[in-house]
Symmetry: C2
Subunit: 404 residues, 2 copies
């Protein structure tokens, strides 16, 4: 291996409020290592693996380097992302050969890919290919990222805390808004999460202050429409307002998405019928004032209200990834390990094998959710509360946040 190999950083999958904070961690510590003579060039791929396949790789410009700290509060994926999946190389080597060619040409000896389940699968496959087939020396390290919090072998994922903070704050604000009329309303808030309930569960954090969120419905627990209507109607009769948070991925007993069933039943059109819209139309037909609210992209992009804990950990994950790569580690993902600490919440950064992470899904455990009352348990609140702690302080100019 060339002593001063180059480092390549890429982003992959859906953006989060803090994936660029991890980019900052990776790139700033890589530049530092470069200064110390431990590293060649610091490169980024445009649109992740897509960019690698097209040899769309470039060193950080002087302007980018100067503006690097702004990454810590910039939404989106600053270097571009993609959802490109690699086949097994035994099945089809074409893309692997292309990537190998680009890596060799650019003398890339350290590769850090920042992404979720599918991206960890991609880098795991590349690591395996480089090691077992191509015998090309390259340290492959995965930096976790997903608002869904569904990566295994890590206490949580960067991006989740900020999304959870936005969701809980929004629900709290929506409840305060609903309180203002004597008439009341049944608000149904739709939260992201097609397969797992971590995000929707975070709505329950709003209840630490006040009873703001009355019911929570997650994909892991079959959704019973009749029971839902009974619950909201009974509570509305008593409390005169109801807030239910539902995951976009809630399914009936048969595994069919509620959103899809709704879209088909009522409008014959799949695109518009979100789960909340559908349930809200049922509530309206039953004669109640109601509103469907889709939190939509803000969940993953409202970096102006990011969790400070999340931003800090996202940066640290990037820094730790570079450190491990330079030490010669490969085929690993940076993970968070929660420590038993008297002082409260504390995290250690560790490595876990990429092969055990890629393509796997971590569901919300049954001990964190009570299907009977449609609410989260104390165990969940204890788990999630520290993750939304602290407010990121983005720089503002002319009333708007400054981005990279």
């Amino acid at each position: 291996m060339a002593e001063k190999g180059n480092l390549l950083y890429g982003q992959s999958g859906g953006p989060t409020s803090v994936i660029n904070a991890s980019a900052y961690g990776v790139l700033s510590s890589a530049l530092e290592a470069q200064k110390q003579g431990k590293l060649g060039k610091v490169l980024t791929a445009r649109f992740g693996v897509q960019g690698i396949l097209e040899d769309d790789i470039s060193p950080l410009s002087a302007e980018q380097t100067e503006r690097l700290p702004l990454l810590t509060h910039t939404p989106g994926a600053a270097f571009g992302s993609c959802r490109h999946m690699l086949k097994d190389y035994e099945e089809d080597e074409t893309e692997y050969l292309k990537i190998l060619e680009v890596f060799k040409k650019n003398n890339i000896r350290y590769f850090l890919l920042n992404g979720g389940n599918d991206s960890m699968d991609t880098i795991a496959k590349l690591d395996k290919y480089f090691t077992l087939k191509a015998h090309y020396d390259c340290r492959c390290i995965g930096i976790p990222k997903t608002i869904d919090n569904d990566l295994p072998l890590t206490d949580h994922t960067p991006g989740y805390g900020s999304a959870a903070k936005y969701i809980a704050t929004s629900c709290l604000s929506i409840d305060y808004d609903a309180r203002c009329y004597q008439k009341g309303r049944i608000n149904i808030v739709e939260v992201m999460g097609r397969d797992t309930g971590w995000l929707t569960a975070s709505a329950g954090l709003a209840n630490i202050k006040d009873q703001a969120v009355d019911f929570i419905y997650i994909p892991e627990s079959p959704f019973d429409t009749a029971d839902f209507l009974n619950k909201v109607e009974a509570l509305f009769a008593k409390k005169k307002r109801v807030l239910a948070a539902v995951s976009e991925g809630i399914r009936d007993q048969g595994g069919q998405f509620i959103a899809e069933s709704g879209a088909k039943d009522a409008f014959g059109h799949a695109q518009l019928g979100g789960a909340a819209s559908y349930l809200s139309s049922l509530v309206k037909n039953a004669g109640y004032p109601t509103r469907a609210i889709e939190l939509s992209l803000a969940q993953r992009s409202f970096s102006s209200l990011a969790s400070k804990t999340d931003v800090t950990e996202a940066v640290n994950a990037g820094v730790y990834g570079v450190k491990c790569a330079l030490k010669g580690q490969s085929g690993q993902m940076v993970a968070f390990q929660r420590e038993e600490a008297k002082a409260g919440y504390q995290i250690s950064y560790v490595l876990v094998p990429l092969a055990k992470v890629g393509g796997q899904i971590k569901y919300l455990p049954p001990t964190m959710y009570d299907a009977k009352t449609a609410s989260v348990t104390e165990e969940f609140l204890d788990y999630a509360s520290p993750l939304i702690e602290g407010e990121a302080q983005p720089e503002f100019c002319l009333g708007l946040p400054l981005f990279f």
Copy 2:
């Protein structure tokens, strides 16, 4: 008039991020006046005029008084609101007699109503009734409030700046999110505003930083669907992503709401079809990747990102209202007058006659919007930029904002 009459404060109409900041201004300065022996009790009505009609009026509790400063960052309408309209008293005196009875019983000699167009109409009518018919001595002062910014005789309204800041920040974040994929997307963001375009125009503030918002459509300008599709398709071909901000109240040449036409044409159901959903379905049918995003209640309730300018002015409007009432003014609304100042943006607080405000609507002037390019003009940006300046610093605890 009894020398130590009591003061009543009520909220009315839809909430904003800062109506409670005005409540703080009114109540804290009323309590101060009370201490100085200038005022009797400080009372609030539950659910505004509705509460007055039901004699649901109470003095501030000790706990409320202690927690008063939290009002400056609390969404909703902390004392409850309503949308109750009064008929002319010549037509039907019933409710006026009831209100008069409650006012006399509670010795209310100062009445401050915090609301928008309809609420100013209500307090104008009450002032007229007290003066001309009942000969009941009561100082009636309106405190403006509406995210819609459509009150006449005032430079702008409290609530608008914070909503504008949220809308511009959201559009900027959504654009950064959209940049991350090579494939791109046509995002259609739906903004509140059934009659006027002030709110949707504020999306244009995002362009001060960057070209984030490509097209803006407002209710004042007839919406041409074919022209819209041509515009977004042409730009998408060039730029690979488009962000259009549309008002919920956009109408066709014939004055029919686009949202309604959409709902009827495609789904036969009015409730779900917002303007953005409908336009997004057209874009999808034309073969483009697209997403409809309704900013929904967050526009008026996301007080965690309120404009500091807006919060300050909302408090000041309340303080000034009490000051004027105690000086004997009546039948007036507090208004903002923008001063020609070398140092930049500067506001004076003045009074304008309620009779000239109530029920009137201030539209976005043609000089602030260019229908041909579907964008706002420099004149609008110069007008609106100062209103989103500064970040309110709400108190947080356990990762969530502290509310009243």
